[in-house]
Symmetry: C2
Subunit: 475 residues, 2 copies
């Protein structure tokens, strides 16, 4: 495999690890400002997160800001300090790196843009910055990024909404800062919470491989979600993925698939995308899960971070809509799952109470029989079934009509969270389509351990990928 | 092409059209009930919709219901009446059809299940019902469906939420009743409104082809969305689509793609699905647009029902996130669009105010330059560009910070609804990702004529399909 990395994106073989980026003892903000922007917001946020006594602001103007002293240069900042966040204009960065190096700080997040992603002049500045960092052995995340978020110690070099600060099992690796930020905005609304997040920008030094290894060993991280525009080093990525996916799933959305897409990313974070087929091969060889769309990346990660690995590829579908059952079935079979016959005991159990018109088979379409609460647990407990999709839909006019009578989604579809607890070894995904209020009701009934997806196709594909990953891990 | 239709799904060559299903003068409900269910809810809803004086309830028990007289049999119902909605158990349907035929009613929606979709016995009942209908020349929608919705006269044989009763340009053809219902629940939340909807169930008589022709000529319908488990008659579908797609777009989601999927649909609405490749060929030959997922069906229909046809395949992308721009670019190029260079005037115009780090090219990633409001209209007006995707994202922490200062999405991204009005001939899709509150703000700013999608991939694919359809119509 030949993916020629450009010199400035090659992994700088430093002996200093990257843990300090996530767990600094003290932080200096080089480029704190009194006007809106990163230099204004980040100090405020860190103070709010309890980092006030470990936070040092630097701006040549000195004085005071947010009730804190502002140092005129990095050299004046008191101990302990082992991480610098740099927000000064690109042209000033090499000089600031020298100050930082002299101060003995060895970890730097450069958030400023205006480097290799912008053309010749920026490339030249990036080269000078790299040289300066090299002199002192400084490790760098960025430039052109928003750095890190660590929810275990509530440390962040990026302003995020409070909801994104809830700790959870998912780690994010992104290249672009704003994209990483927007993922955080969106994930918490899906009840998906984050362990650590990092945006890598131009990857002047630290790249996705080193971060993958770090997150692979992070006890707070259960699944890793990565957006990649191009590998910094293809061969290294392959070796790293092989290692990390043995420990936990890595789900990847890769752009730059087409020539035009590659051209778009080259000027965005200054990376070269490789040929798409190479990436497909690398991901297939390493147990990485490739998402085909942003929505798939988010939803598949939700399934991977909540569901156990299946013991086999036999899918059972219980549904109140034959159509949605058929849509899920198509994708499941396309992706390598099978829909076996239900075991005799299950068929007999369900048939006993079913109306004559109901077909007791797989997918199990209960229609308006009122038998969902019987059929669903029967499917979960069926030894012929390794995993289940429960399609729970009901016209919202019916929901509204039944509301005053006290009939709820739980009575109609069962206590899904409880059913989950009774059969914890089998992956379960709920698929609900329709009115948002109903979907939210189903999310309530399903609890935190059962993902409720709105796409039958993604529900099926997620379980198929979970099965493939299960074979990788256990194979 | 050979898709052997089963005898009971063949188009019954009747001289009576289907308009009466949507515009009856009077309706009889055979199987009105005092307990919750279709027989209870549908009369209530029709009364609420103003059909009280054209509505007649029938139940052998007679008496009164919802403040209305209940007739003991269909024969007693007064004029005018030209449509019957049948909700009695399957076994009773042939007898009720005889009553209906004798009463001179020639249009019947059979909502009951328990026919060909359930096996041998049901097939036999369906055959008897068909024979009975044949005696009188009765046209039938169903069985195993929820019939029709017509928002131009507020007539419906199905209970829907009030929000779904807003008239709009989109027509729905579905097979399954509950699925059609749930589409209605969901579409209104996307600000997609309906002209007419029909669910066909087992298609004992009326099939999708006759409905397509009817909707093709319906002045209230601008785009047709169809969910199909299998064609009732493949050759007829091909001829019908060719004719109808010349008048308006037809977007199709087809399940039963795999063997298991076909088995699922056979027992669901009693239809046989043909081979998937045949359908791909039919759709390609007829200008029909095939959606690959339910979500694509909904979002592509949104774009088709709001956007003009593009004059060419040259896509311009303006974005505040390089990553999302790259994801859209990949799909656009895969699907046959090109991202040309911007014209010299546009480049000069944008460059004049742009910071040095900003690359003025296509896709146009403005980053945090504050130049979105200048770049976006410039792209819309560029003669080198036939259609535009505007990716509008911004970290929600920034949105919250700026809110008290009065800076809104409109100031950041421009008055999108107004920009749309200035260049009405070019398709425009906005893509917003992140926090729901922000996405809703963007929907407000974009107005009713610009769809806001949350998937960059679907935004790109929708425009690519719009271009292909444009060539079909004008080719």
């Amino acid at each position: 495999m030949v993916l020629s990395p450009r010199p400035e994106t090659q992994f700088m073989k430093s002996s200093i690890g990257i843990q300090t980026f996530f767990e600094p003892r003290g932080v200096v903000i080089a480029g704190a400002t009194r006007t809106p922007g990163f230099g204004y917001g980040i100090p405020l946020m860190l103070k709010r997160l309890g980092w006030g006594d470990r936070l040092h602001l630097v701006n040549p103007s000195g004085g005071e800001m947010h009730g804190m002293k502002v140092y005129r240069e990095v050299g004046e900042v008191p101990d302990p300090v082992d991480l610098a966040v740099v927000i000064v204009p690109a042209a000033a960065v090499p000089g600031v790196l020298e100050e930082i190096g002299r101060r003995g700080i060895r970890h730097v997040v450069i958030e400023s843009a205006g480097f290799a992603e912008t053309g010749e002049e920026g490339r030249e500045i990036q080269a000078r910055a790299k040289k300066e960092a090299g002199k002192f052995g400084i490790r760098i995340i960025g430039p052109n990024c928003v750095g890190v978020l660590n929810n275990s110690n509530q440390f962040a070099t990026v302003e995020v909404i409070d909801e994104a600060l809830n700790p959870g099992p998912i780690a994010i690796i992104a290249q672009s800062g704003v994209f990483g930020n927007v993922l955080l905005d969106n994930l918490c609304q899906r009840r998906m919470y984050i362990s650590k997040a990092v945006t890598l920008g131009n990857r002047m030094d630290v790249n996705e491989c080193e971060v993958l290894d770090y997150l692979g060993d992070d006890p707070d991280t259960k699944a890793i979600m990565m957006y990649l525009e191009g590998a910094a080093d293809g061969a290294l990525l392959r070796e790293t993925l092989k290692r990390v996916t043995r420990k936990k799933p890595v789900l990847i959305l890769k752009s730059g698939r087409t020539g035009a897409g590659r051209a778009a990313t080259a000027s965005h974070t200054g990376s070269l995308s490789g040929e798409d087929e190479l990436y497909d091969a690398v991901f297939a060889q390493t147990g990485a899960v490739r998402a085909r769309t942003l929505e798939e990346l988010l939803e598949m990660t939700r399934v991977f971070s909540t569901q156990p690995l299946p013991g086999g590829n036999r899918l059972g579908i219980v549904t109140s809509s034959g159509s949605l059952g058929a849509l899920a079935t198509d994708v499941a079979v396309d992706e390598g799952l099978v829909l076996p016959e239900l075991s005799r005991a299950t068929v007999e159990n369900v048939r006993r109470a079913a109306p004559k018109w109901m077909n007791v088979k797989n997918p199990l379409d209960v229609g308006p029989s009122g038998q969902y609460t019987r059929a669903f647990p029967a499917l979960m407990e069926d030894p012929a079934i390794d995993m289940v999709i429960a399609v729970t839909i009901i016209p919202f006019a019916v929901v509204r009509t039944l509301k005053p009578t006290g009939i709820t989604g739980k009575m109609w579809f069962g206590d899904i969270a409880e059913i989950r607890k009774r059969t914890p070894q089998k992956p379960l995904v709920v698929c609900a389509v329709g009115n948002t209020e109903f979907i939210e009701q189903m999310a309530e009934v399903s609890g935190d351990e059962v993902p409720v997806l709105t796409s039958p196709e993604t529900a099926a594909r997620s379980l198929a990928e979970l099965w493939k990953y299960s074979r990788w891990v256990n194979g």
